[in-house]
């Protein structure tokens, strides 16, 4: 998809423009049909996918077919499973072979207990992937210094976590996200940890450019309905951000006239 005059307020990633600020992950869904209905209900234009080994016992069990049937979707493979920069490069090259997409979600989280990103390997991998022509979107801890360094080497966005993957912890590090947002000149996309549509709305209100949601939608009782709820929340949050939120202050400020007119003179 290229920039189109029909898209108002597009999400710009490198040279590409997308008319949704909700990115959807495809993990944890009970089946491919439910996943596809959730993608459609979400209005997402970017959908993440992962790699796994082919299973000869189930030769048709892959997502390439179901996802190819969805119009207007850009696939963004991730490097999940990679533990080092070398492995991330290999995963990215394989993903390019599968999807033909240069957009890559770089994620390196070696510790299964918390799945927090390895900043050192992530930075090295980002440098090498950019050199190889990939458009890199790194999953990072909410670290303003790292975010800026990744911007400076040419990442098309940064994806700081809201909370650990699959935790439902919401925007656990809002203060750090605000520091990232204050200096960022590339899109900031909150990735991981969001639980409720209100989390997504809060991220957009804060000034984040988009959110990536997976578990909260995939494990809902009704994933397509939850996808729609997140889509509405993202739109509301973005609209509120553009409309200009009032400033916070400690004291009250009346909305009605306070002149006394009921008292007996």
């Amino acid at each position: 998809m290229t920039a189109s005059p029909s898209i108002t307020d597009p999400l710009l990633l490198g040279e590409q423009a997308f008319d949704s600020r909700l990115l959807l992950g495809t993990g944890k869904f009970s089946n491919a049909g439910t996943m596809c209905r959730a993608v459609q209900a979400s209005g997402a234009r970017i959908v993440t996918v992962a790699l796994r080994r082919f299973n000869p016992e189930r030769p048709d069990d892959d997502l390439a077919g179901p996802l190819a049937a969805l119009p207007g979707i850009t696939l963004m493979p991730n490097t999940s499973g990679a533990l080092t920069a070398d492995e991330a490069l290999k995963a990215a090259r394989l993903s390019y072979e599968l999807c033909g997409s240069r957009l890559i979600k770089l994620e390196l989280h070696p510790n299964p207990h918390h799945l927090l990103p390895d900043a050192v390997e992530t930075f090295e991998a980002a440098q090498r992937l950019i050199k190889d022509g990939f458009q890199v979107m790194p999953y990072i801890p909410p670290d303003p210094v790292l975010a800026k360094r990744l911007e400076e080497i040419g990442c098309v966005s940064v994806m700081p976590l809201g909370a650990p993957i699959g935790s439902g912890g919401g925007l656990a590090h809002a203060g750090m996200l605000e520091l990232i947002l204050r200096d960022a000149r590339i899109p900031v996309i909150v990735d991981a940890g969001l639980r409720a549509p209100s989390d997504a709305a809060a991220a957009l209100e804060m000034g984040c450019d988009a959110v990536l949601v997976n578990s909260a939608i995939a494990v809902a009782d009704d994933p397509p309905a939850m996808a729609e709820a997140f889509a509405e929340a993202v739109k509301a949050g973005r609209k509120a951000r553009r409309a200009g939120l009032m400033s916070r202050h400690g004291g009250a400020s009346p909305t009605s006239p306070l002149t006394r007119f009921l008292g007996v003179p």
Partner: protein, 93 residues
Amino acid sequence: MTFQTSQDKLVRVKTTKPDPGSTPEQSIRLTINGQPRTFQGNPSLETVLDVLGANRKHVALVLNNAVLPRDRWSDAAVKDGDSLDILVMAGGG
């Protein structure tokens, strides 16, 4: 047999016909996704995929630890002892 550079590894490229002394009964052992498999004859890479039931359009390959680009599949030969990883698209966040 000659060698050409592919990515950062050397990949064998089939440039000669099979040894005329070989017999149709021969077989080769490959390690497919970490599991040993035996294939009859001297199959091409694409034949191996077909025998396994893999959809050629939906897989990516790693031959002997090096990513094998799709446009090299038809030139790449597999031989006894080779390791082949076959990857497909899966759900992920």
